[in-house]
Symmetry: C2
Subunit: 657 residues, 2 copies
């Protein structure tokens, strides 16, 4: 369930506490918030990705497989990484959700041409990987290099695209292509072939395919693939088994390891398996690994993965802001996993982390114009930064040699409306993400005794903390509203049809149970204080620093806002208040923050290392008098929109250095 199951509320995911709503239940407003993001992505990012499928060679890689003499055949060499096919499937998933959501299909001709191409070049067995089929893989034959081949990863994305097109648009053409391949994989597994992919991702897709087709063989295949991990089948070498999550069986794992995207995709798949099977051993393992990941290895922006080297989680508490890898796809994977953990447990903390990732690291990965992207999402860019690598550039880039991130953003954003609310067997509706949205539930989706209904969620969140939920007709089922962990429960205001109510927060949600007459309007007011956040003392990399966070939004300071001094020489005066302020030029955010900074320019040619002098907290490295600086902090998601320059999320505080 990348996004949603198709059945009635609570009816299709046997072990979910919260179950996805039926497709089409939620429509986002496009003025602001998630809906505006979604509209911008459909308008700019999706066409950009479709163009890139041509310019980067992804479609030509498939056209190389056409028969000689076919006028569409492409004769050049294979281009890009071996899993480049997945760029096409991710993009088609985005197109499908957008088309289903808007009822328009401007890219349908393109999509059909790609589906036709895929159907034409697909091997009679169902196999469909242009890298291997086109002779570009050193291994030569299908599944000969499970470790690096990425073929099952590609299958996973093909399946998700096919399912999305089927669900959102009712068109099964692409699903049929994907299912043909999946059936061959299932048959091979049944025959005892040990198919397991170096890059997880297919597991969630197989579970979703099982849900969508009511065919449990696909679920069995996902379980089998998970069971196959951790026995050394993926081999070793310069990359250790942990890189591929093959060092230990999942159930024996106590820590997240290796490549962050792979680990998080795998755990999303395992959660899907739990949601279908209900085996408590899975959930115990998932909760343990989640605590490790989010309690010891997550950046304050929700970015995951500390190391550029191997794109990996680092050691516990190894969270460098400047070299945060925090791959965009890892942020997306974090949303996937947290969503499934939320469904499995009903605990708001999973939604908190989902929101942290979504509104910070994921949102920041795309430029305001929707056509430039970050692959890696640092929390600190130094003065003098060398931006020559596309993995640590000085600004967003239009495309990448490894282009996994942009179409992954497109498919997530196109499906954001699925993450807003869920339901439960007893008819309770839960709202997880606050943004302008209309929620329409068919009568079949509502608990006995309640009627079909439409709820309007209206808010300027996260700029403003007030959320109203209105119903034209009285609403009779309970409504659970998420109260994020950062909100002081004592200061949360809840007003139901004009009457203040105590907000009793259980598992991260305040639930309004309507009386006999139902309810028409709920107002939730969340205190959006500015918090100066410190990291756990073991996070050495940001010792003596704070991050300014308002509600769920992490802020950063940029060199462009402190002309005349080097941002790298500025410390935050924590003794002065941090104020909420209006917009600044060039940043499309109604709210920014203002704080008092002190510039402490280093003495020219100050030595790299000098005596601390008898325990004084300050050396004599800085030039005496501090200069007061008006600091502007803008939402992290909008950094880098005003040209290149230093940027910091973590601000040293006066007295700490």
């Amino acid at each position: 369930m990348t996004t949603t199951a198709r059945g009635p509320v609570g009816g299709r995911v046997p072990h979910a506490v919260w179950a996805p709503l039926p497709v089409g239940s939620v429509t986002l407003g496009t003025d602001a918030g998630l809906g505006a993001w979604q509209a911008a992505s459909a308008r700019a990012t999706v066409p950009h990705c479709l163009d890139a499928l041509e310019s980067s060679g992804v479609l030509d890689n498939l056209r190389r497989l056409l028969d000689e003499g076919d006028p569409a055949r492409h004769d050049g060499p294979y281009r890009g990484f071996n899993f480049a096919d997945s760029d096409a499937w991710k993009t088609l998933e985005a197109v499908a959700w957008d088309a289903g959501r808007t009822g328009t299909d401007p890219h349908e001709d393109t999509v059909r041409a790609i589906v036709d191409l895929a159907r034409t070049v697909q091997d009679p067995t169902g196999y469909l990987d242009s890298h291997v089929q086109g002779g570009a893989a050193p291994s030569g034959t299908p599944y000969a290099d499970l470790r690096w081949g990425h073929e099952l990863y590609v299958l996973g994305h093909l399946l998700q695209a096919g399912i999305a097109r089927s669900r959102a648009q009712g068109r099964d053409d692409l699903l049929t292509v994907g299912r043909r391949w999946a059936d061959d994989v299932v048959a091979r597994l049944v025959d005892g072939e040990e198919l397991v992919c170096g890059h997880p991702g297919v597991e969630t897709a197989l579970v979703e395919l099982a849900r969508h087709t009511d065919d449990p063989r696909y679920l069995d295949a996902a379980v089998r693939m998970i069971d196959l991990r951790g026995h050394g089948r993926l081999g070793s070498g310069p990359f250790e088994p942990g890189y591929h999550q093959d060092a230990q069986p999942v159930l024996a794992s106590t820590e997240v390891t290796g490549h962050a995207v792979r680990q998080l995709y795998l755990l999303a798949g395992v959660t899907d398996v739990y949601l279908e099977t209900g085996d408590p051993a899975w959930l115990t393992t998932l909760e343990r690994l989640w605590e490790d990941a989010y309690g010891r290895r997550a950046h304050v922006t929700g970015g995951m993965g500390s190391r550029h080297k191997d794109e990996s989680f680092g050691d516990p508490y190894e969270l460098p802001p400047d070299r945060a890898y925090a791959e965009t796809c890892a942020g997306i994977a974090s949303v996937h996993w947290c969503w499934r953990m939320l469904l499995a447990t009903g605990q708001g903390r999973y939604a908190d982390e989902l929101e942290r990732a979504l509104l910070n690291v994921v949102a920041g990965a795309t430029s305001a114009d929707g056509t430039r992207f970050f692959y890696s999402n640092p929390l600190h860019v130094r003065e003098g930064h060398d931006g020559s690598s596309e993995y640590s550039p000085s600004g967003r880039l239009p495309w990448f040699a490894c282009a996994c991130c942009p179409p992954n953003l497109a498919r997530l954003v196109a499906s954001l409306h699925h993450y807003v609310a869920t339901g439960r067997q007893d008819g309770t509706l839960a709202v997880h993400l606050y943004t302008d949205a209309d929620v329409v539930l068919p009568s079949a989706g509502v608990a006995p005794g309640t009627s079909s209904a439409r709820l309007e969620i209206r808010t300027r969140y996260p700029d403003d903390g007030t959320v109203t939920v209105r119903s034209v007709d009285p609403w009779h089922a309970p409504v659970a509203l998420r109260v994020p962990g950062w909100a002081d429960p004592a200061r949360v205001r809840l007003v139901v049809d004009g009457e203040p109510r105590e907000a009793v927060v259980v598992d991260g949600y305040a639930t309004v149970v309507p009386g006999p007459d139902g309810v028409r309007e709920i107002l939730l007011d969340l205190p959006l204080d500015v918090r100066a956040v410190r990291a756990h003392p073991r996070v050495d990399a940001v010792r003596g620093c704070v991050a300014l966070v308002r509600g769920p939004v992490v802020h950063c300071v940029e060199q462009v806002d402190v002309p005349g001094v080097a941002l790298e020489d500025v410390v935050l005066d924590l003794g002065s208040p941090v104020r909420v302020a209006g917009p600044v030029d060039g940043i499309d955010a109604p709210v920014t923050l203002r704080a008092r900074g002190l510039a402490r320019p280093a003495v020219p040619d100050a030595p790299l290392y000098a005596d601390a002098r008898d325990g004084a907290e300050d050396g004599d490295e800085h030039a005496g008098t501090d200069v007061v600086v008006d600091l502007v902090a803008v939402p992290y998601a909008l950094w880098g929109e005003r040209g290149e320059g230093a940027m910091r999320v973590w601000l040293p505080t006066a007295g700490d250095r």
Copy 2:
């Protein structure tokens, strides 16, 4: 001049302020200090490396090139990285210096067999690279892949081995093999072929060959190779041109970039070219780049290279202790470059940095028993560290897939006696490194008016700060003794033949000019205070921390010395004195340090991020009462000798977090 020129003092390096002494001038005492290290390396490390040449396939790679039917021919596949030949040449360089120094040649049969093998398989053109000749290189033919081929890098190591064997043992067999290849390279360059290597290293060797053979064509070849850089000839791709020092011409460079070992080897070569040509533009560039490297990008241990990713220098002041790459070979390259800068300028600061690297990062790379090594040299190992990668293991390892470091250590250590002292045209002798040593100068090597003489340097430095320099016969030439930059000049004691003298320190040296009767004994006493060193405020990664340094020796604390508490929870009480103490079990060092620490265990399940609460310096993350801990700090070079566990060079100080 990896180590020494052959001619009389000051006579062979035209633009050196200090010139190397003739081979054989300096003999180290083997009880302690550099001589003990040298003896241990000859006894354990060199045989270990020779064994590894067999077990890792290096010699078999050459034996694959023998004619079919030759009983010594090896038929297996090529093994190891494409530059594995260099492991053999480095090891043979070490063997040569050891043999020359000790007058014994226990490995001579082995060496002759390898030389015979090399001569036999060498191509008629002189080319000798078993990876390319053996058909293992995808590029197929010589120099077809200058970027990754490493062939000229291999040539450089072959030449250095041949020169060492010629100089130290008077045997020219290996030199003849290397020179044959070098002659072909020279001819190709003369013919206009643009030969430049993705991995520098050959430049120093070519200059040394020019010195050793009095043939300036080799110097011209080195200059040409340096001039060829920075014009994009090495191509681009996933690695940017800066990785190979090909983004800019050397003379236009303002920052060190890319792979640290490559950059430092290149700059050592450029310094050699300056030493021969005297072109001031080279020196200006070198000084600028040196300031960048040592003023903004060097770890306090002398380790160079901040990033595992691409083994590269990072941005300015990006110096993470936990993820310090600090490759052993980069420490060695730093010794090479600083030595040449010292010769070129006579400035003691270059010797200071040479010593910092030598006694900390380089010394720490080998285990006490001489047979295990670090490739990367972190300044912090976390509790819970995943040591599964050989580039960030939890302890030293016997060998590596890429085994550049161990034989590089062996060849440096085997030549350490060359770094102790230099001379000058006016007869001045300069002592740069303090260790037990006898310096014998032939009459030809001494300035007119002075006789042949022998100086005995005796000291327990760096454990003790007293150094005596004695001469049996009165010594008539000036003696310059290095006063390191960390020593307070006002507290340096200088006693000449029993008479206290003021130590006037110029360019890092206190020079004793003998009177008409000469001098017999000089006593230098350096104040070895324990310093709590802070980093420049822009070194974010160690904000609020100090490193304990005594004289040139950086110390660290290890988990084994703080039983009962987690080292990661300990802060240093800077208000209490740090005391000098005796040895601890398992550490072969007469001096360790003792300090007062405070253990601040984190609350179990303390959140990763929490509010800083109104500007208080401390959150409530730790469990209230501090527990006093007796901290033991041992020399960094000896860390990891007592099993695995957390280690820190940089200690958080009380109040800073």
